[in-house]
């Protein structure tokens, strides 16, 4: 294809000026966009009204189509189930047996737990969910891992609230519209969740790796305490996430690097439970009195 000649507007001053103005607008626009990016980096909650409105506007597409996706998904697994029925039945029976035994044990432990808590006068932290809703979509290109919820500020959802499913922690809310909200998944690179190892209570940080897995970072140097198959739960440190929510399962340990998989798979989720911030005071800015006394202590 020959290069088009329309880029050179000839001797017309007006056409030349129009082209020049186009470039001025384009370059100015890039500078403006970079400024917007700086604003977004400094204040991630900026333009929340605009972004919330956009989120609401695309909500019908996401929410309406989700049932179609689930239906198509269901057909595939339904056919598979039909052929595997015999062997699956036997395996399930076996599993039921073993789990029944475990349930009895768990009940006994639960009772004992209750008794001990009563002895210590510890109130069980009751977590009433703010909303129970669906995950209706996610970003699918780009390095960020964000998902969309089908309920927003109209249901009481606000930025910063943790989101979980029955299986485990999903992430936290970062943007809210009126009827939809965007959440930062635990596998996003910007997510860091304080966790502890169920086996022995070793504290760690679960940082997203961006590709659906989680990197585990221990707080102390030395031997890597993780083993394949270890389960991590939130520790409650930091006050955002409530303690004892399952987060991840360790899938590989390579020297210092530990890779884990989130226990709640957002792709297969039906329901998401939005919880209140565990200790609201933890995310608030310091009061003026505390601030001055802290500054005084530093000097």
């Amino acid at each position: 294809m020959a290069p088009p000649s329309t880029r050179r507007p000839g001797f017309s001053r007006r056409a030349q000026f129009g082209l020049f103005l186009g470039y001025v607008i384009a370059v100015g626009g890039i500078l403006f966009a970079l400024m917007l990016l700086v604003v977004a980096a400094v204040d991630p909650a900026g333009f929340s009204a605009l972004k919330g409105a956009a989120l609401d506007a695309t909500h019908p597409i996401s929410a309406g189509g989700r049932s179609v996706v689930r239906f198509v998904d269901g057909i595939g697994s339904g056919i598979g189930d039909y052929f595997m029925a015999g062997s699956e039945n036997a395996a399930l029976k076996q599993r039921l047996e073993s789990e029944r035994r475990m349930i009895v044990e768990a009940r006994a432990i639960g009772l004992e737990n209750q008794r001990l808590k009563a002895l210590l006068k510890l109130a069980g932290e009751v977590q009433n969910p703010i909303a129970i809703t669906r995950i209706v979509g996610s970003t699918f290109d780009g390095p960020r891992r964000l998902a969309t919820l089908s309920a927003g500020s109209a249901s009481g959802i606000a930025n910063g609230q943790p989101v979980r499913s029955p299986d485990g922690l999903i992430g936290r809310v970062i943007e809210t519209g009126r009827w939809s909200a965007r959440i930062l998944l635990v596998s996003d690179g910007a997510s860091a969740v304080p966790v502890r190892l169920v086996r022995d209570g070793t504290p760690a940080i679960a940082a997203g790796h961006g590709d659906g897995t989680i990197d585990l970072k221990t707080l102390e140097l030395g031997k890597n305490p993780f083993r394949r198959g270890d389960i991590l739960v939130t520790s409650g440190t930091g006050g955002v996430y409530p303690p004892n929510v399952p987060v991840a399962l360790v899938t590989a340990v390579n020297g210092d690097r530990t890779v884990a998989r989130p226990l709640a798979d957002p792709a297969g989720l039906d329901f998401a439970i939005v919880l209140p911030i565990f200790q609201p005071a933890a995310t608030k800015p310091l009061s003026a009195a505390t601030q001055t006394s802290l500054e005084g202590a530093q000097q």
Binding site: M1, A2, P3, P4, T6, R7, L19, G22, Y23, A26, V27, G29, I30, F32, A33, L34, M35, L36, L37, V39, A40, A41, P44, G46, L50, K51, T58, I61, S62, G65, R66, V69, I135, G137, S138, T139, F140, D141, G142, P143, R144, R145, L146, A147, E175, R182, L185, S187, D188, G189, A190, G208, H209, G210, D211, G212, D265, P266, A267, L269
Partner: protein, 170 residues
């Protein structure tokens, strides 16, 4: 179209469906609102590929600043930080203008080569912006998306060519 100083309409009239390029680009942005949950970045950015295909196919159609509002729409729909697509898409258009003014004859392979370069730079840009926004991930994570994007370009370009043919028929 009127030829300068001729006083009458000659050659072809305005194209039959002038909104097709704009609407297909906006539609490709809206793909990101589809109810699909993906946990690994492997799906290429189709909005960008459609935009790039239109730009390489019809260099005279859009001036560089047209990418600004299109990028804003993409940012809002996809949940990118505001300004990411605005900056990257407009920079892409300026690079395309540079290519148009420097290159002579172009063919399919040269277009693909250029598209591959642009897609690679675009992915690096996205990764960099995510880095500034606090998402510190290694570049290998976005590599599959970049490679898939490069190989999806011919498919998208073929689609855009057929759309263009439909646009210009009456």
């Amino acid at each position: 179209m009127r030829i300068a100083a001729s006083g009458r309409d000659t050659a072809f009239r305005g194209p039959g469906r002038p909104w097709v390029p704009l609407l297909t680009t906006l539609g490709a942005s809206l793909l990101q609102a589809l109810p699909v949950v993906v946990t690994t970045p492997v799906v290429p950015d189709f909005a960008f590929l459609v935009l790039l295909s239109w730009r390489l196919l019809r260099p005279e159609m859009w001036q560089a600043y047209v990418a600004l509002p299109l990028g804003l729409f993409n940012d809002l729909v996809a949940g990118h930080p505001l300004g990411q697509s605005m900056a990257l898409w407009t920079a892409t258009f300026l690079a395309c203008d540079l290519l148009d003014s420097r290159s002579g004859w172009r063919d399919y392979w040269l277009d693909w080569l250029f598209a591959a370069l642009v897609v690679a730079l675009y992915t690096i840009g996205e990764w960099r912006v995510a880095w500034w926004m606090g998402s510190r991930i290694p570049f290998e994570v976005v590599l599959p998306q970049m490679i898939l994007g490069i190989f999806c370009y011919p498919v998208v370009a073929r689609l855009v060519v057929s759309l263009d043919r439909w646009r210009l028929t009456r």
